[in-house]
Amino acid sequence: MHLTNIETIPGKTITEHYGIVSGSTVRAKHAGRDFMAGLKNIFGGELKGYTELLSESRDQAMSRMTDQAKSLGANAVVNVRFSTSSVASGAAELYVYGTAVKVN
């Protein structure tokens, strides 16, 4: 599976388009992490637990997107975009979308 966030895959030609594919996940943080983050909030600095949580969720969203692309028969996704929104307090939605194509 080739993934890029530009319109093409350099060195390859696009032979077929399959339209938009997307994947999303909504994740909530758990209380233990939240407690540690509360302590960290006094001193500032990186919240490692949250960083991990968000990158895990993003990986999951990406694998959902690539699964969808595979089921359409595509072997690449071009012009991938990410977007994040907080649905409720303490939960975040990670959304990733792109165009499924076939390249040779």
Partner: protein
């Protein structure tokens, strides 16, 4: 009277801790950012969509890096005071600057064998938007782009 003193201590101690430890952590973080930026300067990271040498590209893949950074108690107080008088909140500017640069560095660290990273997009989001008391004030920076190899 003792109650008043205890209350004052409860308010002042986290702010003082936030000021001193937060300042120290920020200094340390900036030192590490400057060091790694110099180390990774050999990978050009650009916002253009076109590769510099389009005919020579052999592989392309998506790379990304993200970081969540929280504000400290002192910065939060400064921001609350700024809200009364207006003006730019310098303490928040440095926070977001750190987050973005760290995200770009993590993205580059994923692509140490690449010759170029093109079409970089940077996204910022706050995880807990509500400003109610006790909520976590933090900002997430996420950077992604296409790493090319010649």
């Amino acid at each position: 009277m003792t109650e008043l003193i205890i209350n004052l201590v409860v308010i002042i101690v986290p702010i003082a801790l936030g000021y001193f430890i937060g300042k120290y952590l920020e200094k340390k973080h900036y030192a590490s950012i400057h060091k790694r930026e110099k180390e990774l300067a050999y990978i050009p990271a650009i916002v253009l969509k076109k590769p510099l040498q389009p005919d020579m590209v052999t592989s392309a893949r998506l790379v990304s890096g993200s970081v969540v950074i929280s504000i400290d108690k002192f910065k939060r107080l400064v921001a609350a005071l700024r809200n009364i008088f207006g003006g730019n909140i310098a303490s928040f500017e440095s926070l977001i600057d750190r987050a973005r640069r760290e995200a770009i560095l993590r993205m580059k660290e994923q692509a140490t064998d690449a010759d170029e990273i093109i079409n970089i997009r940077i996204e910022t989001s706050s995880i807990s938007k509500n400003s109610r008391k006790g909520s976590i004030g933090s900002v997430e920076a996420f950077a992604y782009g296409t790493a090319l190899k010649y």
